[in-house]
């Protein structure tokens, strides 16, 4: 029997007011659904929340939509990891020790990262985060209104006669108590493997920094980490190995618990008076996604603290198997040789084609010369 492949969760958030605002680019669509506020929405000074729109049917040949307020997944992730990484600062790459500390932190391991650099440090590294979260979408029927408010900003003055003068009056979308729901999953496959090779273009750590990185992971999880090795993804049909670090099942469990600790304490605040916080979470262990359908209620159980999580370290599926270094190197050499052979063949083909072209040109010129002589 296979182990747990992923952990799914459904959460409910409660709050008041709007915590996640949008730009003005969806005003054209907003006019379609806020029919009572069409006049207001034809102005450009509108501060609008992010909305979730779903087509629910058709009436008289026109589509009908359901519109709800939402908190984007990016906003939730920012709130989850705000303490660890308040700002995504690429300057940290210039300080290798601090940089590796960030990569090996719980934030780096769970949230993932993308650092692109050509100048200094460890080169470009990225890790796909195992934590997937959907947007938190409003479930109750509270209806938003557009209130006229003033904004503290200097009034823009007309420079020319034709200029439009600025205004401090803004239409702001307001709402009372809101209940949101969100769902998400922790992909244990992505969680347990830290890739150190460029084979599939997903190098999470430069192998030269592996020693520092392993020390960092040890510190984060309070458990020993295995050394860098060659691993094969068990279910993949291509048996190509990747260099990387495999986290132990205990380490995975520790990181899962850390992730749920953050989720349980999620509290998103907004200066303008809006806030939202988590009220309850239910989780489900997925061993076979076809049998344990994530969207079915069966199998979910509520948690109030991380101690309520029923997952054991031994239940976690290990997606990778280690292969001996010699075998991996031999396999890699075969691939490299095949690649070089194809490259050489391409070059030969190109040369043959070029020669043929020259010959054809010469033949053409000879024909032309013959014609001119005649």
């Amino acid at each position: 029997m296979s182990g747990v492949r992923s952990i799914w969760f459904n959460a409910t958030l409660k709050g008041t007011g709007i915590v996640n605002y949008d730009g003005k680019d969806s005003l054209w669509a907003a006019k379609e659904w806020f029919k009572n506020y069409r006049e207001i929405l034809s102005h450009s000074n509108v501060k609008m929340a992010k909305h979730y729109i779903k087509k629910i049917g058709e009436k008289d040949g026109k589509p009908e939509y359901e519109i709800k307020i939402k908190i984007s997944s990016d906003c939730i992730k920012h709130a989850l990891f705000e303490e660890d990484q308040p700002v995504h600062d690429t300057l940290i790459m210039a300080a290798p020790k601090a940089f590796i500390k960030l990569l090996s932190s719980a934030c780096g391991l769970i949230r993932g990262y993308m650092f692109e650099n050509k100048v200094c440090g460890s080169g470009s590294v990225h890790r796909k985060g195992p934590l997937n979260i959907t947007d938190a979408v409003q479930t109750n029927d509270t209806i938003p209104t557009f209130d006229l408010v003033t904004q503290l900003s200097p009034k823009r003055q007309k420079e020319n006669k034709d200029d439009i003068s600025g205004t401090n009056m803004v239409y702001k979308e307001c709402i009372g108590d809101v209940v949101y729901t969100l769902s998400g999953s922790i992909d244990l496959n992505l969680l347990q493997f830290i890739c150190c090779s460029q084979r599939y273009n997903r190098m999470a750590v430069n192998p030269d920094d592996a020693k520092l990185y392993i020390e960092g992971v040890n510190r984060t999880t309070d458990l020993p980490t295995s050394n860098i090795g060659h691993y094969i993804y068990k279910t993949a049909k291509s048996e190509l190995s990747e260099e990387g670090i495999l986290l132990s099942q205990d380490q995975c469990l520790m990181l899962i618990k850390d992730c749920f600790r953050r989720l349980l304490g999620l509290n998103i605040g907004r200066g303008g008076g809006g806030f939202a916080y988590i009220t309850d979470i239910k989780i489900k262990h997925i061993t076979d996604p076809i049998i344990d359908k994530p969207y079915e209620e069966v199998g979910y159980y509520p948690i109030k603290s991380v101690d309520d999580i029923k997952l054991k370290a031994s239940d976690i599926e290990v997606f990778y198997k280690e292969i001996p270094e010699e075998e991996a190197i031999a396999l890699n050499n075969d691939i490299d040789n095949a690649y070089i052979a194809t490259k050489n063949k391409d070059a030969e083909d190109k040369q043959i084609k070029a020669e043929e072209k020259i010959k054809a040109k010469e033949a053409k010129e000879a024909k032309k010369n013959k014609k001119s002589e005649q």
Binding site: D22, V87, H88, D135, D187, I290, I335
Partner: protein, 297 residues
């Protein structure tokens, strides 16, 4: 034949991908993204390459790069499945695309320049200077030369007879003060030194010359300017349901995966249910189409 129903939530499409200055690396080497080809999928449809890779991940396989050249080609079964699949997009859209959302992104910018204009009083006139707020610490970083910075301080000290210049003057007030005494030889000498050390912009502000065409930090490229800039980007979001026709044997492949995957930018995908394939699915949904490969020149 069964229909595997997959829900796609919050998948993002960058509206202006061609603005990007970054490069694409593959086995062919480096290509500027602007010149790299891309697939254009008609609005209201999903692309075969996108869906095939999604199915690969749901089956515990590696995705195959659709544009970058790579030795790994993957199993063509997933392309076949994708071609037969149907998608129903729930999001609102028009000819321009799906609904846009503004997201906050952080970018590394090697030479960021503040573009805010601040009003300086130079020669008794209110003049806008590009470059944002200037303060002593920033001025020191811009000058990047202690002796030159000290020269500015001593010049102001001599002119104003104030001992602690940095406490008595704001940096902007100090520049305005130097402008008031711009005819004095000591200030003229200072401006000459500034020009010599490639700080013409600062000298121009003091002397009130060519103000419209300069910014405070013109010509400065130090390591301290390698900063992370926050900015906003527009992204189009779509929600959809995907129906994949599968046999019982093909269905077993999906047990190898984790039941969830990501799709496009930040999209969340999950296996929702398994139904019998019916003509109603075909009526409700649109086919998954092959994107048009657009080659940029």
């Amino acid at each position: 034949m069964k229909a595997l129903c997959i829900s796609i939530k919050n998948a993002g499409l960058w509206k202006y991908p061609m603005w990007s200055k970054d490069c694409v690396y593959d086995s062919n080497g480096k290509t500027i993204r602007k010149k790299f080809p891309y697939y254009e999928v008609p609005i209201g449809h999903l692309g075969v390459q996108q869906v095939a890779n999604l199915l690969r991940v749901l089956c515990g396989q590696r995705p195959v790069p659709s544009l970058r050249k790579c030795n790994y080609t993957g199993d063509p079964l997933y392309e076949e499945l994708a071609k037969k699949s149907r998608a129903n997009i729930h999001s609102i859209y028009n000819d321009k695309g799906y609904i846009e959302e503004v997201v906050y992104t952080h970018k590394s910018n090697q030479f960021p320049q503040q573009t805010a204009k601040r009003n300086y009083i130079l020669d008794n006139h209110n003049i806008g200077v590009i470059g944002g707020l200037i303060y002593w610490r920033r001025l020191r970083r811009i000058i990047n030369d202690n002796s030159l910075f000290q020269e500015i301080i001593t010049t102001i000290q001599n002119l104003s007879k104030v001992n602690n210049v940095q406490e008595s003057f704001h940096a902007q007030t100090a520049i305005e003060f130097l402008n008031k005494h711009k005819t004095k030889p000591i200030v003229i000498e200072l401006c000459k030194n500034l020009k010599k050390n490639h700080h013409t912009s600062l000298s121009n502000i003091i002397l009130n010359e060519h103000i419209d065409a300069i910014s405070i930090h013109q010509g400065y490229h130090g390591i301290n300017s390698y900063l992370s800039c926050g900015s906003v980007e527009k992204i189009q979001r779509l929600d959809a349901s995907l129906y994949v026709p599968v046999t019982n044997e093909q269905l077993k492949l999906f047990s190898n995966g984790t039941g969830a995957a990501s799709f496009l930018e930040g999209g969340f995908v999950a296996i929702e249910s398994i139904e019998e394939w019916s003509p109603l699915i075909e009526i409700q949904s649109k086919p998954v189409v092959e994107g048009v490969l657009i080659k940029c020149t």
